[in-house]
């Protein structure tokens, strides 16, 4: 688990830097693709629900976005809280209503 957390910490850090310094040159209709959000969503969708890895990655991703973006609504921590809530919500929906065939369900 610790190895996975360190790996995702490094990956999300690099992705945030790419997003804020490299991808800003390639806007699509003025929008920069949010790679950090995409990765966090994918982790939350495709990792086992009971090991908290999705929630931890949401916290890390949100924190890096907070650090490398100007504070949204003037509040440092905005992205962290939004990502955390999103991750918890996704986990709740997946646990209750969705069965993904190749993901270990906490109920099995």
């Amino acid at each position: 688990m610790l190895k996975k957390v360190i790996l995702i910490l490094f990956l999300l850090y690099i992705l945030t830097l790419i997003q804020s310094s490299f991808l800003v040159h390639f806007t699509i209709f003025g929008i920069v693709p949010n790679l950090v959000l995409i990765l966090v969503l994918l982790i939350n969708l495709f990792t086992p629900l009971n090991d908290w890895f999705g929630v931890i990655s949401a916290l890390i991703g949100g924190f890096f976005l907070d650090v490398f973006s100007s504070a949204s609504f003037g509040f440092f921590g905005f992205y962290t809280l939004i990502f955390l809530i999103l991750s918890l919500f996704l986990n709740f929906i997946l646990k209750k209503y969705v069965e993904v065939p190749f993901v270990k369900s906490p109920r099995s």
């Binding site: 804020s20 800003v24 973006s69 949204s72 440092f76």
Partner: protein, 264 residues
Amino acid sequence: MKSTFRLNLVLGLCLLIALFLAFNFTGLGGTVKNFFYVISSPLQEGFWKAGDVTSDFLAGVFQAKNLKKEVDELYLKSRSLIVKIAELKELETENQALREALDLGLEKEMKLSLSRIVSKDISGEVLLIDKGGKDGIEKDYPVITPQKLLLGRITEVYDNFSEVMLITNKDSSFDAKILDKDIYGVVKGKGDSDLYLDLVPKDKEVSAGDIIVTAALGADFPAGIIVGSIKEVKKSDIEPFQTAEMIPSFDLKVTDVVFVITEF
């Protein structure tokens, strides 16, 4: 069991919110940001340059068919500019003599601090530059390009870095006037690299191509800095003022360094 889990979850969330509130109110958030900017700036500068080069290359590939037309247009423009340069050279000599006589150098008009762009925010029109409080940068200082085109103003200052809100940001608005005309208005950002001129009296004649410069009315920016040009004028019978779509004069794709005006 389930209720204990929920209680822990709510407690954890509250703790996190309290932590962030403390970060925001004690200014610790700025310190954390500054720390990450310091350790990441070499990587960020590398990514910024790589993005710049790649986007230039891709723009060339995708716009190849327009390039011929553009080259022809630029050739014609360069001809007329050569004539202008010749005229200006004569004026320059005259101007230099006058400046020396009056002791009015630009560096005496305003104090500038050179800075590099490190990154651009994805959520808004905000740039991060590598000069901060330790370099004497303060909030609300104007920022211009080396060509003396208005870029924005400082909105957040950390120890070694600062955030610049571009003039195209939705929260940006300042007084401006049309060059060589006695017409004043307010330039407002629209987001997505767009801006417009607002509150221009209806009876004033504004036309596409007019150059907009900062006005001396507001104390936000020094007067006479080029902001952009008029793209399209919009008049409506029901509105008391006319507005005009603008093209900003700066181009971030060709701008790596900026000047922060520390005194004007």
